[in-house]
Amino acid sequence: MKHETALHNLDQTAMTASQPSVSIKELDLSFGAVDVLKGLNLDIAAGEFLVLLGSSGCGKSTLLSCIAGLLDLTDGQIFINGQNVTWAEPSERGIGMVFQSYALYPQMTVEGNLGFGLRNAGVPKAEVKERIARAAKILQIEPLLKRRPAALSGGQRQRVAIGRALVRDVDVFLFDEPLSNLDAKLRADLRVEIKLLHQQLGNTMIYVTHDQVEAMTLADRIAIMKDGKIMQLGTPDAVYNQPANRYVAEFIGAPAMNFVDGKLSGTKLSFADLSVDVADYPFQSAPGGDLNVTVGLRPEHLIVGTDQLQSAATFELTAEIVEPMGADTLVWSTLDGRRFRVRLDGQTKISAGDTLSVGIAVETLNIFNAATEQRL
C-alpha cells in the first residue's frame, strides 16, 4: 500500500510542474578518505535519456547508486520529481534499476523475479499478474515466464532485468552498464530495443556506460565524467563537434582526434609550419594577445582530394602505415613529431610511403587553451 501511495504522489507532482525529473545538488560522496564525487550538480528533464559516460573508475556507478539511494551521500541533495528523496529508501524513490550482472534471483522463475518486489509490497495478486503480463508483452518475454534465469540466454536475462524495473511502474529508470556482459551483436540489437522502449514509455532514463557508441546512439544528452566530475554535459552532437575541453575531445571519437601544438595571435593560428586565418572560428571567448594553444583535428574532418579548394590551408604528409578497414581507410603519419591520423574513403588507393595532401576547414577545428585545456 505504501508503495502505491508513493507512486501516486509522484504522478501528481510530475504532472503539475515542469520541474526536472531528477535533480542532483552539490553532491559529495567519499569512501573514507577517498573522495569519489565532488560537488556534482545535474538536472535531468522529465522523459530525457541521459547517458553517464566515462572511463572505468570515474564514479559513474557511484553516482547512479546515489540516485538510487543505495549509497548514503556525504553531502548534497537529490530530488526526484520535486521531492527531496535524499533520505528515502531506494524502493520509495520511484525508480527502477537494471544491473550489469542482471542480478536476477536465480531460484525464482522469470515470473517470480518480476513479481517478487510487488508481492512483497502488498500489491494485490490480480494487479501483479496484470503488470507482469504487460511488461512481458512489451519486452516480448511471454514464452519465458515459467523459466529460471539459468535457462535463459544473456540477452533474455537482460530483458527480464529490464522487466523487473518495468513492473514497478516508475518514472525513472536507472541502467548500470546493462549491455557490457553481452557479445557485440546482441549488444547492438538490445541497444536499439532500449531506444525503442524509451520512445514507447517516455520515462526518464539514466544510463551508465563506458562505451561511446552506446552513449552517442542512445542519449538525448551525454554527461562525460572524469574523476568524479562532469567534464561536459551536452547533446551527442555538441560533445562531438564542440568538445568543451581537451579531455572530452580526446575521449570522444574513434580513431581519436589529432592534437598539434600551436600559437594564436589575434585571428592568426600557426602550427606545424602552417598559418591559418581563423576569423570564422566560433570562439566562445575571444582571446587577446598571443596564446599557446592546442589544435585538435578529427581524422575524419581532414579534406583530401578535389574538395581541397575549400580548405583554409593544406599540407603534405607521408603515409607511414595504411590500415584498410573496408568502409574507410586509416592512414598513420607524423606531424610536428606526433602521431597523426587521417581517415580516407575506403576506395582510396594509397600505400605506405606515398605522399598525401591534406586540407583543413576552419569550422571543423578545435582550439584549446594549452594551459587550461579549455575550448576557446
Binding site: S65, L70, E89, P90, Y102, Y105, Q107, G117, N120, R164
Partner: protein, 296 residues
Amino acid sequence: MQTQRPNALFRNLTAKIAALPMIATALFVFVGCTLWTVYYSFTKSRMLPSDKWVGLQQYERLWNTPKWQIAVENLLIFGFCMMILSLVIGFVLAALLDQKIRFENTIRTIILYPFALSFIVTGLIWQWVLNPDFGIQQVVRDLGWQSFEFNPLFNPDIVIYGVLIAAVWQGSGFIMVVMLAGLRGIDEEIWKAARVDGIPRWRTYVFIIIPMMRPVFVTALVLIASGIIKVYDLVKAQTNGGPGISSEVPAKYVIDMMFGNQNLGQGFAASTMMLLSVAVILIPWAYLEFGRKKHG
C-alpha cells in the same frame, strides 16, 4: 633416433613414477585396508585376525551389545544436534559478520581460534568449565541461585550434550568461515536489486540468499557429517565414555575393541558399520555433485 611409436606405458614415465606414492596410498591403504577390514569383519577374529568365516555373527553380537547401542544412539543425537547447531550458528554468525560491522577481523579471530585447538585440548577445557564443583554450575550458585543444576558431565542422561557444547565451540567457527566465503561470493548487485525492490533484509536472506547458497550448505553439511562420525578424541579426553558407558561413541567403541578388549572381530564389524553410514551420506552427495556438474 626413435622411429617406433613409444610404448604407451612408458610415456610420461617420470610423472607416473612420481605419482606412485599417491597410487599406492589410494590402492593399498584406501582400497586395500578398507576391503581387508570389511572381509575380516565376517570372521571369528579375536586377539589376532582369524580366517574362520562366521558370516554375520559379529554384527549380530555387535547390535546386541548395550555399549554399541548407546554409542549409536549417542552418535545420532550428537550428530543431529551438531548439524543443526553448526549450520544455524555458522550461518547466523556469518550473516552478522557480513553486515560490514566494525572489528570484523577481531571477532572472526575470536570465533575461529578454537578450531586451531585439538579435540584433546577442547575436551579438557570443557571438562574444567563444566566441572560441577568449580565451573559454571558453582559460579551461578555463588551468584545466589542455589538450586541451579547444570552438570552434564556427571549426568548420564545429558552427558552427550556436554560433549556437544564443546564440539560446537570447536567447530562452528570453521562453518562460519565457509558460510562467510559463500556470502561474500554472492553478487553484490543481488543485494542492490533487492533493496530497489523494497525487500526487507531478513526476507532477502530467507528467500534469495539462502536458496542461492545451497551448494555451500551442502558442502558444510558434508564436512560436518564426516567430522561427526570420526568423533573420538573429544570424548576420550572430556568424559572417556563416562559416566559408565553413557557417552560412548562408535569410533571409540572400535578402538576400545581392537586395542583394549582384544576383540578384533567386534572392532572390524563396528568400523564397517561406520563405513556404511559414511557411504549412506556420501554417495547421494557425490551423485548430486556429479549430476550438477554434468548438467553444467
